[in-house]
């Protein structure tokens, strides 16, 4: 059984991890889209391990939530908002993976201060922002259906 103090601690860490992920991945996405254009892209991209740290924190605490309360997520019945959230996380990870392996990341490394990012990187950044916002949406809907409304 999971001790009662563990859940609120994990929930807090889940929100802190979320802020880290949005903080670091989000500022890169926004820079690629033209906000804070005076930032050179290459050193910003070297900060992405911090976004990954936030993601890892949320993966770990997320597993705790499922173990503590499997009925709310995997059911039965299987929670559709949980499935949607996992699906959008998968899409967001796939988008990030493709950004790195397709050469878009390397192309963006060459974007100096004041320069416009290549349009491929811009599309990837916009998709990334959209997908993470969608992940947060499904996370909220998931919690709503978990309550006894």
């Amino acid at each position: 059984m999971i001790a009662s103090w563990i859940l609120p601690v994990c929930e807090s860490l889940h929100f802190i991890g979320m802020a880290m992920l949005i903080g670091f991945a989000g500022i890169l996405d926004l820079r690629l889209l033209g906000v804070a254009k005076r930032l050179p892209v290459a050193p910003l991209q070297r900060l992405m391990p911090w976004a990954l740290l936030g993601f890892a924190l949320n993966l770990g605490t997320g597993v705790v939530f499922i173990v503590a309360n499997p009925g709310q997520y995997v059911g039965p019945p299987l929670s559709l908002s949980f499935v949607a959230k996992m699906f959008f996380i998968l899409l967001a990870c796939l988008n990030a993976f493709l950004y790195y392996v397709s050469g878009l990341k390397r192309a963006a490394d060459g974007v100096e201060a004041g320069e416009e990012a290549p349009s491929g990187a811009k599309v990837s950044a916009a998709v990334s922002l959209f997908l993470w916002v969608a992940v947060m949406y499904w996370g909220r809907v998931l919690q709503f259906f978990g309550k006894s409304f």
């Binding site: 929100f15 992920l21 500022i27 926004l30 804070a36 709503f144 409304f149």
Partner: protein, 155 residues
């Protein structure tokens, strides 16, 4: 004052917000609150960590542009938070976690203003010991506010 807050809580819209199964009520407000939170705290903490020396090679001055994002997101959280507060005001005011959260949010917002003044306003953007201190306090207050916010549901 309490009677006034109670009459708002009992009004038709507040009851709808709390009891309607519609996703457009409570869930949408919480979603907006969460989006606002992550785009306030995320970029703030990124700026704070840069001030503290993470990614030292990145020029600091251009980060100034993210304050616009931070304040827009903060406004979204504040607006959705205000509606959530009035739908349940007397309980929130009696909840110690809520009071701690609001105190920390106010301090964190004040620190954000102070950091912008101290670090980003001067012609030559520079980091000194006291701005590093402010940056560390900012991270603590934001993460503390998030934690207190989560604990509202447990009191």
């Amino acid at each position: 004052m309490m009677a006034w807050l109670q009459s708002i809580e009992g009004s038709a819209w507040a009851v709808w917000l709390k009891e309607s199964p519609s996703l457009w009520g409570y869930t949408t407000l919480l979603f907006l609150h969460t989006i606002g939170l992550s785009f306030t705290v995320g970029p703030s903490v990124a700026i704070d960590m840069r001030i503290l020396g993470v990614g030292r090679r990145i020029p600091l001055a251009p980060f100034d542009a993210f304050f616009k994002v931070i304040w827009i997101a903060f406004a979204v959280s504040a607006a959705s938070g205000t509606v959530l507060f009035f739908s349940d005001a007397t309980a929130k005011l009696a909840n110690p976690a809520y009071l701690v959260k609001m105190t920390l949010v106010c301090i964190a917002a004040a620190i954000t203003i102070a950091i912008r003044r101290r670090v980003f306003r001067p012609a030559a953007v520079e980091v000194d010991a006291s701005s590093r201190y402010l940056a560390a306090a900012s991270i603590l207050c934001w993460f503390g506010a998030i934690t207190a916010g989560r604990y509202i549901a447990y009191f």
